[in-house]
Symmetry: C2
Subunit: 198 residues, 2 copies
């Protein structure tokens, strides 16, 4: 990962052209089929410059989405404690990010995904390739069930974000994080590791 030292490198127009080309490529072709080379071609820059500005293809996707956290850092931390209480750790991490200043980027992302099919497509692709793929092989469950487990988790987490931060329905909106962790943790635990309907 390219270390960021406060100031972002490079010409802002060039950066924006690369990010636009990346969004188009990731939404139209999907993450796996999109290439740095192709994105650089669309943005009319050298592929080395894309690597120089953004690092890996994963990092470029993260920048293109303006995602509030890096799943490459967060997902391993949530997984690190093992399967017991993983649901609670996941809610704790999720609420921690959203209660922090980074939550504003999350709200902006939800607003955009709801009003814009393009962003919805990018978000689907991001959840699948950047979040769920990092969980694969790390949980002791049937890998074939992981997409269902992951998307059930996504329903509860995006709904929690909606009600707490966007619609702001009380008492969830101002509930103590520990209460939410205790209430919602078991839901995610069951979606991730419990028996599922077939």
């Amino acid at each position: 990962m390219t270390r960021r030292t406060g100031r972002r490198p490079g010409n802002p127009d060039t950066r924006e052209a690369i990010l636009d080309a990346a969004r188009t490529a990731f939404a139209e072709r999907g993450f796996d089929a999109a290439s740095i080379r192709g994105i650089a071609g669309t943005a009319e820059v050298d592929p080395a410059l894309v690597h120089h500005y953004f690092g890996s293809k994963d990092q470029l996707f993260l920048a293109a989405m303006n995602f509030p956290v890096d799943p490459g850092e967060v997902v391993p931390k949530v997984l690190a404690g093992g399967q017991d209480h993983i649901g609670e750790r996941l809610v704790r991490t999720f609420v921690g990010v959203w209660d922090s200043p980074a939550g504003a980027a999350g709200i902006a992302l939800i607003r955009s995904a709801v009003s814009n099919e393009w962003t919805a497509k990018l978000l689907r692709e991001f959840i699948t390739t950047q979040v769920l793929r990092r969980v694969l092989d790390q949980l002791d469950v049937d890998p074939a069930q992981l997409p269902l487990r992951g998307s059930l988790v996504a329903t509860q987490l995006i709904g929690l974000a909606m009600m707490r931060y966007v619609i702001r329905l009380e008492p969830v909106a101002s509930a103590d994080p520990e209460m939410l962790i205790a209430a919602v943790g078991p839901t995610l635990q069951r979606y991730l590791t419990g028996p599922l309907p077939t």
Copy 2:
């Protein structure tokens, strides 16, 4: 309830003026403090005309929100089977409405509530006065816990709607309703009738 017979009664401009005045009143003052008389005054019509067009204050709120179903009809049906399996019945009813043509109004409502604080306020007020209030005294749980139980249910249901109908994340987006009912029903059952953190 005023029976609708296909054609909506009255002058469209007058209807729209009443609905605009109602949205303002319900959002600014709340459902309980808003009055048909005050709304009629803002819309510069006779209160009897508001009753004639929309029926009760509940019905006026429903029309103002363009809510996809009438909680006055749906909530008693979900409650009618008793507390056992109420979670499953709730998901079944919810998915049934959203999978029907009425789901389009739900998607429009979510889009509006996410981008517009005014609609978010109306939606909060609607959930509290039109949905949760109808459940009060019908469930064998501490009434003081009902707002928390209700808002936890709301997190899971709006998140299910977001992922299935708006973001359309697979496999939840095209999952068989029975699978969703079996997966999500126990979550709502626990939120409604299970032990809660205090």
